[in-house]
């Protein structure tokens, strides 16, 4: 590993690892699988580091990889009939107040019931912290579509909260 590349990759890791983990966790709801998926994501990014053509942001490119890994994971899980690790989800909420916890759970469950496309945009927006342009690059869709999906997803959450 050359020194320059090593520093570059480690900086990139430091800047993005938390958000990749958050995105992966939102997608799979399992601590154990999150670790595996994050590791796989960075290994693929490392192997394909030179293939990034420089158009768009490196983050969007990384989350494009993360998204494909999640899709692979879902395919694998659906074949093996695995259930998401819901215990790990509950552990997180224990540090919150009860009313907050209920609200968090309600919103979380509502997001989980959204369409896959809307859910994906919401995860990339709130868990990964990507901008509209980066989400559009990662998903390879127009920005207008990103806006529409985000709006429809949030509207569904609002309607659920009002109900």
């Amino acid at each position: 590993m050359t020194g320059e590349f090593k520093v570059e990759f480690e900086n990139f890791w430091g800047q993005t690892a938390d958000r990749v983990r958050a995105y992966m966790f939102c997608a799979c709801s399992s601590f154990a699988d999150t670790d595996d998926l994050v590791q796989e994501c960075y290994l693929r990014a490392l192997r394909g580091w030179c293939q990034f053509n420089g158009s768009g942001s490196r983050q969007a490119w990384l989350f494009g990889i993360a998204r494909r890994i999640c899709a692979d994971w879902f395919r694998y899980k659906s074949k093996n009939d695995a259930v998401a690790d819901l215990h790990s989800v509950n552990v997180i909420s224990c540090s919150l107040k009860r009313s907050d916890t209920e609200q968090v759970e309600a919103v979380w469950e509502t997001i989980k019931q959204l369409d896959a496309e809307q859910k994906e945009v919401i995860h990339l927006r709130f868990a990964a912290g990507l901008s509209y342009i980066e989400i559009a690059e990662a998903l390879k869709i127009p920005i207008g579509t990103v806006r529409s999906r985000l709006h429809r997803g949030l509207r569904a959450v609002r309607e659920k909260m009002e109900a």
């Binding site: 590993m1 609200q103 806006r147």
Partner: protein, 195 residues
Amino acid sequence: MEREIIERIAIDCAGGELNEDIQALFNAYLAQNEQGGRWAEDMLRTYETTEAAISAKTRAVCTGSVTPVPKSTLVLPLRHQRIEHWPARRVAGWAAVLIFAAFIGAVIGRWSKPPVLPDRPASVVFGPSLKPGNVRPILTVKWPSYQLQDTGGSFWLTKAMAMLHATPDTINKDYVKGPTLWDEYRQFIKEKRYE
């Protein structure tokens, strides 16, 4: 404006996707339009709640639990790899030279002239004694009936054939010599034991 449009602009505004001029214009509109203000406020609250919920859910996976992948497990792109162990590189170089030499040898051997084999009789009879009259043979070796031209021109098969032809020379010598004194003594001991 319709509710959907106000909500979309409110989302963009909350996400920081609008420039300052448009944001100011939108705020001015909401200040004049009470209903639109309520719709925008609802969507802003939803936005913040969703953000908070996802943040709360993902906080545990993000705080302090990120550990870099051990460098030894990383597989780098080829142009970033550097062979630091020179002995290993040297061994690889010698292995390449040997493989190349073996290849050249095989090519030369393949195109070289097949060996000329000596003429042999169809079979050879071995007996315990060289005296005339004691004619009972103990071993008859028949040479392989196939000849060099039957091998289809394969170099290595021809070589193998040549070895087959050469082997009976040794057998011949051994059998012509007959049993040694030690062999006879061992045979005697065996027979005694079974008696």
